[in-house]
Symmetry: C2
Subunit: 128 residues, 2 copies
Amino acid sequence: MNIGAAARASGVSQRMIRHYEEIGLIPSAARRDSGYRDYSAADVHRLRFIANARDLGFAIGEIAKLLALWSDQKRSSGEVRSLALAHAGELGRKAEALAAMRQTLLALAEQCHGDDRPDCPILQRLED
Amino acid sequence: MNIGAAARASGVSQRMIRHYEEIGLIPSAARRDSGYRDYSAADVHRLRFIANARDLGFAIGEIAKLLALWSDQKRSSGEVRSLALAHAGELGRKAEALAAMRQTLLALAEQCHGDDRPDCPILQRLED
DNA sequence: CCTTGACCTTGACATGATGTGAAGGTCCAA
DNA sequence: TTGGACCTTCACATCATGTCAAGGTCAAGG
């Protein structure tokens, strides 16, 4: 399977497939005589795994660990669970940070009459 | 005031002060004969404004608009408010996306016994 | 058989915000 | 005068991703 087909089948763009190969997240693809990369069903499966992990917000380094656990028959599910929980914690922290900014903005916006007059508590807050 | 002092006074790193100058977010700093950048209290004030806006998660482009409104005596507070509300909406969407990922992970982790056995619903979900 | 269009290759540049490091000039106090 | 703290520019790195350019490959149709 060519890279284009693998991209369509896995949901990972051609660009990112080449990138993941370059940074060693996936092994170098097999090559045909022409130089074209050639992907097997197993390769596509691994790419799909990566796409799913990215959709859950895992960074490349974490995905590398997940891939290692995935292909390790002797893995402990506890290890996977720890990774997932650590990442969930990180996501929670980021979400809270964003929500806090949002709250601050909403509170300021509420104090702002929002008409044609120039005085504005939002700008006042920003300059302090 | 040298760039180091301006950085300390404003909370914007020297690196970012130079960067903001380069991309035109702030006007080119005055220069002494030595070539050193020289900052006034007003410059530091503007930098502090930028730092505050960044702390609220505004991107550079939005900050540019906020700065324009800030120095516009004829601005309407409604415009500022719209910007703030639009950004709050964006923050809300991002926070929700992160929270959704987090929920998915927590639900999966709950199904995972998390011991020494290798079977793991988290990995199963990732490979689908 | 040759052309055409779709596909592939590598390499480079861009984003956005920020850090780091190197090589070299400036300033000030002792 | 010298040492250390400060400044200058330039360049490279991050992370994930897009895009563009120049060129090779493949398959189908005239």
